[in-house]
């Protein structure tokens, strides 16, 4: 049973896909319900996995391995050579990401009520996207990882291009091409590893690259290892995205439907961080260490650059987009710190930003539904017409700028703790960013909630109502929970972080 649980989890959205596919395309209500219910099986299964973990079942007992593809006919050398197995596995890190995925997917499915047309196609793609995301975090070999990775790309392309705002097609093209380049780099790196070692299993590769293994074919020279490590870092830096590679993500944030941005900012960008930890840091610890300075530098630049640009945006979605770049900069800083605090902080920041961004974009969606715009100059005085909404907005903004007691604080604190230890100069420079963050968030929230009210009619009942409280409360609750009990995340992560530190020769 345990062995199949994981594949059941990954492919459980298929049930929803089947249900939605069988509905006639005009049944708006039923399709939306089925689409939402489709996200529940993975949600409950992930909770079940989590409870199993807390009750002491080893996560590795969920691993599954089936024969899948064998390239070439090289059995006479070694039957395992050039095989790709269908193997899914779980550790603390992936468990956390799985939970993030299932929770945000369910909430985003709920927020998809705002979608106005083409529901059937929308939910089908949405659920395929969820399979892709779940697969990415459980894949145990690089080929499988890549397949799931691309499986997120195609549905996202259509979701952005068909259901987005005015400039949606341009945004979806940018998304496709930038990510296409990223995955091209990734694919080349993966295949060089595969061709030269004959395996793509992450654990086997980690061992071969760190301990050195016997190669039947052409060896991987040490300079090639640097190249591969760099390729992984760049491919995932595009996904994350950090400074020079960010322009596609700004467009996507501005043009995609808010429910998809919840997924996009909440989970898809996080694949970048996951990839850097798993592949860059995990497979090539030696080489990664020497790239660390560059990684921190990229992080600092995007942290400050994103914050500065967020300061002057008039479209609230763009404020959030640049704020995402800025926050992903913090992740990079943590990843480059090369110590336990930094790494833990980076992972915390990933999760925390996932929750915060999802919540902010949920609120953006709710607001767009009511006012038709989120341009800051056109908004104002929402505190009067939508007090509850404004309250959530402010709370979420505070979490984003790192108010103690909320998840943003813990992660930023730990990243800086780690970074001051290893790169004090860069850390000192980047502290300016913290101030900027506070300024741009408070500016945006104030412009929206206070000031004159000239866009929305005061008397109308506009505040959040009914189901809309569920996503807002759940996300805020989680943000506070992590803020108050950070060890909820720290516990499962312990093993992974220790293993990484050991490989990095921890400090």
């Amino acid at each position: 049973m345990n062995a199949y649980l994981l594949s059941l989890l990954v492919f459980s959205p298929l049930l929803g896909i089947l249900m939605v596919a069988l509905m006639p395309k005009n049944e708006e209500r039923t399709i939306k319900q089925f689409g939402f219910f489709g996200t529940l099986p993975p949600l409950f299964l992930s909770f079940f996995l989590c409870s199993q973990h807390y009750s002491g079942v080893a996560l590795s007992s969920f691993n599954i391995k089936l024969d899948w593809i064998r390239f070439g006919n090289l059995e006479m050398y070694d039957p395992k050579l050039f095989t790709v197995n269908f193997e899914l596995g779980l550790d603390g890190l992936s468990l956390i990401f799985i939970l993030l995925t299932t929770i945000i997917s369910s909430l985003a499915a709920m927020a998809s009520i705002y979608i106005k047309q083409g529901w059937k196609g929308y939910y089908l793609l949405f659920l395929i996207l969820e399979i892709g995301m779940l697969g990415v975090f459980t894949a145990e070999n690089l080929i499988l990882f890549f397949i799931f990775f691309e499986m997120t790309l195609i549905p996202a392309f259509f979701l952005i291009g068909r259901w987005g705002f005015l400039e949606r097609e341009k945004a979806s093209y940018h998304f496709l091409i930038y990510n296409g380049i990223g995955s091209a780099i990734l694919l080349v790196a993966i295949l060089i590893l595969f061709a030269r070692t004959g395996t793509t299993n992450i654990a086997a590769l980690t061992q071969m690259m760190t301990m050195g293994g016997v190669s039947l074919f052409a060896p991987i020279s040490s300079s090639m290892k640097y190249g591969l490590c760099l390729a992984f870092v760049i491919a995932f830096a595009i996904k994350l995205p950090v400074f020079p590679f960010h322009s596609w993500m700004v467009r996507v944030h501005a043009e995609a439907p808010p429910a998809i941005v919840m997924i996009h900012a909440g989970v898809l960008l996080k694949i970048g961080a996951y990839g850097i930890i798993r592949f860059g840091m995990g497979i090539f610890p030696e080489q990664y260490k020497s790239l660390a300075f560059g990684i921190v530098l990229m992080g600092v630049i995007s942290f400050l650059y994103g914050a500065l640009l967020a300061l002057v945006q008039t479209d609230f979605k763009l404020v959030l987009a640049y704020s995402s770049i800025s926050h992903m900069g913090i992740v990079m800083m943590g990843l480059g710190a090369l110590n336990e605090a930094g790494l833990q902080g980076a992972i915390f920041q990933v999760i925390s930003h996932g929750l915060i961004a999802a919540m902010l974009f949920f609120l953006v969606g709710a607001l767009t539904e009511r006012s038709g715009t989120v341009m800051l100059p056109k908004l104002g005085g929402l505190a009067k017409s939508m007090p509850v909404f404004s309250g959530f907005m402010l709370a979420c903004g505070l979490a984003s700028l790192g108010l103690p007691g909320m998840s943003g604080f813990i992660s930023e604190f730990m990243v800086f703790l780690g970074l001051f230890k290893s790169q004090p100069v860069l850390a000192a420079i980047s502290v300016i960013g913290l101030v900027l963050t506070a300024v741009y968030i408070l500016r945006a929230v104030m412009l929206m909630t206070f000031g004159k009210n000239d866009s929305l009619v005061e008397k109308e009942k506009l505040d959040l109502e009914g189901w809309e409280f569920i996503p807002a409360l759940v996300l805020l609750g989680l943000i506070l929970l992590i803020g108050v009990f950070p060890n909820l995340l720290g516990g499962p992560l312990q093993g992974t972080i220790e293993a990484m530190m050991l490989a990095l020769g921890g400090r």
Binding site: D67, I147, I154, G161, L176, A195, A218
Partner: protein, 508 residues
């Protein structure tokens, strides 16, 4: 040669060819004598039956050891079996397409010829796969070429068809002449036309002068055959010819004819140049030493195919350039020799993928263009809303052509990449060009999907799908996904039936 030697040959080895030949003759006689008012469309089923029978007899031959008859001019080795299977599958699908082909002005009296010309062309391709001799190889090539010249121009009252046919004849004629010229040098150097004998003579050839001539021959044969596979810079004919030819013929040219081109290329290169020494010391074999030429042509083909496809508005021209790009990907595998481990697997699998996805695409083009009378990419607009299943099938083919995981196209490309990286030093530049080309191809492939899903409906006319085409669509879509998700079905089949193709490579 007396009767007894004739009878002593194991003619069973040629069974598939005989069946195709018999069907062709029967079809031509039927076409001649049946009354004019009789609907020739039914002849397609007859042709299809012939192909299926040939396929079955081929499968029954799988268990045979390598047979060579007619003093080694006809060889039934694993290479021949594997590629004949692909040819027959492709031809069967294309006959189904041709059955439903309905141009605006009608095919009228030519419909019968249409079917048996397909079969003669197929026969030519099949003979090429199993010829052990330059003469039979060339005869097969000519049989294929001549039939396809007529097929391209079969709409004889259509101006563009005439133009296409003319261009194809002239270009094809030149390329054949060049190939033949190259072959004559090979004959001059070795004094034989039998591939096995030639290979033995060439293996011992360490004289620099002779090697120079060999290089000349290699170059000319390669150039001549590059026309056939439409590799840059000898690709110019392809877009014009595809545009003017009837859609099933365009599918035929881009699938069967291209596959036959690769077959003959591999036959000649692997049996002659792989064993020949590349320099006076014989340290490197000829193909390894000169693979830079194949590699640069592969790179050029990928770049030109993908970049020019970006600007195309006509569907057939677009897929002409796309098929040029795919020829480039296949040439990468030839240039790197699959890293030494993956060559024939890679090419066979990629061609299988290519058969399925490309015929599928041409089926959709045929459907839409015969409905609307236009081949502009705007005929795709709104297809997702109008006929979602057709749109889904088309999306599958396109994703496969673009090499997205979950489809055959991805596994095929992956195989090619493995071959480029496994050697030391790896062919990184070539792989880089290939991956860059793939990313560029996203732009135009996804541009088609944008038309289908994001644009308003082009015309309200319901797309009527004839049963023949729908079978093609379904087979291609299912095959593309099935072999993409479980490629081991194909790989295991290949390895179980044909092993490492040892009888092809070593015995010659």
């Amino acid at each position: 040669m007396d009767l007894n030697t004739m009878l002593s040959y194991n003619w069973g080895a040629m069974m598939p060819e005989f069946i195709i030949l018999g069907t062709t003759m029967a079809l031509s006689i039927l076409d001649l004598f049946w009354p004019v008012h009789f609907n020739r469309r039914k002849l397609a089923w007859f042709a299809l039956t012939g192909i299926i029978l040939a396929c079955l007899s081929l499968i029954s031959l799988f268990s045979f050891e390598t047979v060579s008859i007619l003093s080694d001019t006809f060889r039934l080795d694993s290479f021949a079996k594997a590629f004949k299977l692909l040819l027959l599958i492709g031809a069967g699908l294309i006959i189904l397409l041709a059955h439903s082909y309905e141009p605006k002005e009608g095919l009228r009296e030519h419909r019968g010829e249409f079917y048996y010309l397909f079969l003669t062309a197929l026969l030519g391709a099949m003979i090429m796969t199993s010829s052990g001799d330059l003469i039979t190889l060339f005869v097969g090539l000519e049989l294929l070429s001549l039939s396809s010249y007529i097929l391209v121009g079969i709409r004889k009252r259509d101006r563009s068809a005439n133009e296409a046919s003319m261009k194809y004849v002239i270009n094809g004629g030149i390329s054949t002449a060049i190939t033949l010229f190259g072959m004559s040098y090979l004959y001059g150097v070795t004094g034989s036309v039998n591939l096995g004998e030639m290979s033995r003579t060439m293996a011992a050839m360490t004289d620099g002068q002779l090697q120079y001539i060999m290089g000349l021959a290699f170059f000319m044969v390669f150039v001549g055959l590059s026309f056939k596979i439409a590799a840059a810079p000898f690709h110019m004919w392809a877009p014009d010819v595809y545009e003017g030819a009837p859609t099933p013929v365009a599918a035929f040219l881009s699938v069967i004819s291209k596959m036959a081109g690769f077959v003959i290329l591999l036959r000649i290169f692997l049996s002659l140049f792989l064993t020949a020494p590349g320099d006076a010391f014989g340290a490197l074999d000829f193909l390894e030493k000169n693979n830079i030429y194949i590699a640069s042509m592969a790179g050029l083909t990928i770049i030109i195919g993908n970049v020019v496809a970006l600007r195309q508005q006509n569907l057939k021209r677009l897929f002409a350039y796309s098929s040029i790009a795919h020829a480039g990907y296949l040439l990468v595998a030839v240039a790197t020799l699959g890293g030494g481990y993956f060559l024939l697997d890679t090419i066979w699998y990629y061609l299988l993928a290519y058969v399925l996805m490309n015929i599928g695409v041409f089926a959709v083009i045929q459907l839409l263009s015969s409905q609307s009378g236009s081949e502009d990419i705007s005929v795709l607009a709104g297809l997702g809303r109008k006929s979602p299943y057709l749109a889904l099938a088309f999306t599958i083919y396109i994703l496969s052509l673009a090499g997205i995981p979950g489809t055959t196209g991805f596994i095929g490309k992956l195989n090619i990449f493995l071959g480029t990286f496994i050697t030391e030093p790896g062919h990184f530049v070539l792989a880089g060009i290939m991956i860059a080309g793939t990313v560029v191809s996203y732009v135009y492939y996804f541009g088609l999907l944008v038309q289908i899903f994001f644009r308003p409906i082009h015309s309200d006319k319901v797309v009527k799908i004839r049963s023949g085409v729908s079978v093609v669509l379904i087979i291609c879509a299912i095959g593309t996904v099935l072999f993409g998700l479980f490629p081991n079905i194909a790989f295991d089949f290949l390895h179980d039936q044909f092993g490492d193709f040892t009888d092809f490579i070593s015995s010659e």
